[in-house]
């Protein structure tokens, strides 16, 4: 008995075991507190699909050796650019969603290549630089959101200058994925399109890691010296990985916004990087290793935890900001834990 427990613990990892039990405990607690289970499950599934692609963006970054991509906001901003340009052009519905993705990809490619080049110059301190790159770009874009010449009346302030802080997507491409072929079972809403899109992205990334370039990228991230001796261009592989991560970040935020129903501008992208890093790490990835399975498990646990913890916390301590505090504690605690595991472990 103890043997089998040990092997399970080893395979799944103690942190995941603890978090999973906490997750289950919260779900039970939520039922005990009289919160409707169907609503909770709907929430968990929606958040799972909503955050999935953003978290998936961590896979190529970690695999190519730049570590968890704290600079995900770079990709996110490219995604936002795609969205508002698509709206500005007057597209609506599914077309607007596709156009937003198509516009954001070239932006993300350019930014990704540039940022990859930057990272090649500062090997060894990628994570630190990433965090600052993200911060500075987010605030630079705060200026741009005010000054860029967008005209669409539903995006700009009615009085004054610049884009609004939140742009409602109801009239454009809000919920297009969520409502695609959706259905409900026992009161639980299944956003089929959203889940399909997320799984499709996972599949594409999985295919990529099994291609020649993908294999080269993984080798370069795993052991740069080995890669060099095998004639692999390590710097180029890192740039490819970074670019891919940035593109996935751009696509991910578009998926996120359509599911959320709003575009959030200004300093909203700032903390996105941390939440996604925490999610992939909770799923079992390390700063050096990440797989698609880590993404799936990580998003489920992290977002599921938040989806349950927020209402439960609000129920327990009414009228407080405890839920938000709890979110920050969990998120940053996980990152801190995972980063301490990087050094020393072989």
């Amino acid at each position: 008995m103890t043997e089998s427990i040990k092997t399970i613990t080893k395979k799944v990892g103690l942190p995941r075991l603890i978090i999973s039990s906490f997750f289950v405990f919260l779900i039970i607690a939520s039922i005990g507190l009289g919160l409707p289970l169907d609503r909770t499950l709907t929430n968990i599934i929606r958040r799972f699909g909503m955050f999935g692609v953003l978290v998936l963006a961590m896979v190529p970054a970690i695999q190519c050796g730049i570590g968890p991509n704290f600079a995900l906001p770079l990709g996110i901003i490219c995604g936002i650019l795609g969205e508002i340009i698509s709206i500005e052009f007057g597209f609506v519905g599914f077309t607007a969603f596709i156009v937003a993705i198509l516009i954001s990809i070239p932006f993300a490619t350019i930014i990704g290549v540039g940022y990859g080049n930057l990272l090649n110059k500062i090997k060894g301190s990628e994570m630190l630089v990433a965090a600052y790159a993200a911060l500075s770009v987010v605030y630079f874009m705060c200026i741009m959101w005010v000054t860029l010449p967008f005209k669409h009346p539903q995006m700009i302030w009615p009085i004054g200058k610049g884009l609004r802080v939140t742009i409602a997507l109801e009239a454009f491409f809000g919920y297009v994925l969520n409502d695609f072929a959706d259905f409900s079972i026992a009161g639980v809403h299944i956003p089929t399109g959203l889940l399909m899109f997320f799984l499709l992205c996972c599949f594409v990334v999985w295919l990529y890691t099994r291609s020649k370039t993908g294999m080269a990228m993984k080798a370069a991230g795993d052991n740069p010296k080995f890669a060099l001796a095998s004639g692999i261009n390590v710097d180029r592989s890192r740039i490819i990985g970074t670019t891919l991560s940035t593109i996935l970040g751009a696509v991910g935020i578009i998926v996120y916004h359509q599911s959320y129903g709003y575009i959030q501008l200004y300093d909203a992208p700032q903390y996105m990087g941390f939440a996604t890093v925490a999610a992939v790490l909770i799923g079992g990835a390390t700063a050096r290793k990440a797989k698609i399975s880590h993404v799936l498990l990580g998003v489920l646990l992290f977002q599921g935890l938040l989806a349950v913890a927020l209402p439960v916390a609000n129920e327990v301590v009414k009228g407080s900001n405890l839920a938000e505090v709890l979110r920050m504690v969990i998120q940053n605690g996980i990152i801190l834990y995972a980063l301490t595991q990087v050094v020393g472990g072989e």
Partner: protein, 534 residues
Amino acid sequence: MLQKYALEMKNIDKEYFGNKVLKGVDLKVKPGEIHALLGENGAGKSTLMNILFGMPVIHSTGGFSGEVSMDGKKIEIKSPDEAMEKGIGMVHQEFMLVPGFTIAENIKLNREVLKYNPISNAFKKDSLRFLDYKKMNKDARKALDTLGIDIDEWVKVAGLPVGYMQFVEIAREIDKSNVKVLVFDEPTAVLTESEAKTLIKAMKKLAQSGIAILFITHRLDEVMDAADNITILRDGELVATRKKEETNVLEIAELMVGRKVEVTNKAKKEEQESQETIISIKNLNVDMPGEEVKGINLDIKKGEILGIGGLAGQGKIGIANGLMGLYKTTGDIEFKGEKLKLNDTRSVLNKGLAFVSEDRKGVGLLLDSSIQQNIVITAMQIKESFLKKYGIFSQLDKKGIVNHAVSMIKKLDIRCTGPLQATRRLSGGNQQKVCIARALTLEPEVLLVSEPTRGIDIGAKKLVLDLLVQLNDELGMTVVITSSELAELRSISDRIAIIAEGKVEGILKPDASDADFGLMMAGEYNKLRGKEAI
């Protein structure tokens, strides 16, 4: 009358994990004597010195047996601190100096002379005393004068010529008032010839003052110049102790190398003298830290096994790494009459060279990836094999990979649980076979193998060497093997190039005399034989 030795080590035995590295070694040094300790890499010199200094690595691996005594009294040294207390000093090969401090400060580092001042008096605390620079400078001056070095003690160490740094190190040791035995670990390795001469003069001066000196070096002429007595180790055994007057460079060289070469030699191919040259290296320079190559000219014949030998740090490792473009390289390399592009690993691999690195875990393997992935990845990247093509997209050919990996595992007898096992879990010998399998998957014309038997057990060693011979015999593959173990080179190579100080000292047949090998490894061959020729 019983002669009193400053240092006596008697019947020292030491093993690391069942591997005997010292077998009954004796060492006796009289006060005022310069005693040279010679031996190849791995002969046991450093282990012996580690024992003398009570290094933690000795005690954490089960200690040693045997006796150490100083001035006739048996002592036990459990830590470097104790060794220092007992009067054993060491001049390190790498300088351990603080660049921003003056020479005097460096000499007195951690042994500063202190003086009382009003604050320390007021608080009655010794830790508040000031440094007594006047006294420190005076002490430093004295130490420098003993060495006969004309340099000001208040100069900062940063920017000093290397030779002077070495002297500061020595001055620090002799400033310790109780020093009785001083160990010089290859002190001349980084010095120019004139600096080395000054150093040896200083050593002699020190010896005259009654300090016993242990001198570790590879340069035989320095030994003949400086030493009174010579102890030679080989494979952890004491080979000989000689008085300088009674020996000569030739004999020492022979003693250092000499071992019965087990001629497990392959069935000798008929002498094919005028073979075609497959790789011609001209004026090769490789900037590999610690193994710099400084102008090598070497022809590699088609279908031969060429051994590259030499002592550690002389540049032999740099050659293969340079050819593969892993370190910055200049020079001319022709492969089958065509110029080889330098510093471009990809094109070199494409041309038909393959490389098994000396750094198995660092460069040779993806430790967390499966055996099959390790075996195929290079071929996949270079030759696009094991891939299914869909237009510009590609997917790996799982079936082909598994089949190839399984056949390689069978062919090379890799002991594993299957092609999916991570290479980290394999033993050293099997890891090495995976590395070789990866190189073979490229179907190379020339196989460069560096230190193929480092860190693997004897049984696996033989398998790996046999495999190389077999590849050479059956496929006619040209094999270039770089190794620190001369015996292994002599057992399988057709020719052996010995590298000394970044250059080819000479090329020998495996059955050449021990003396020639010894001289070449010490870099003395051309000096000595050249003289004889005149």
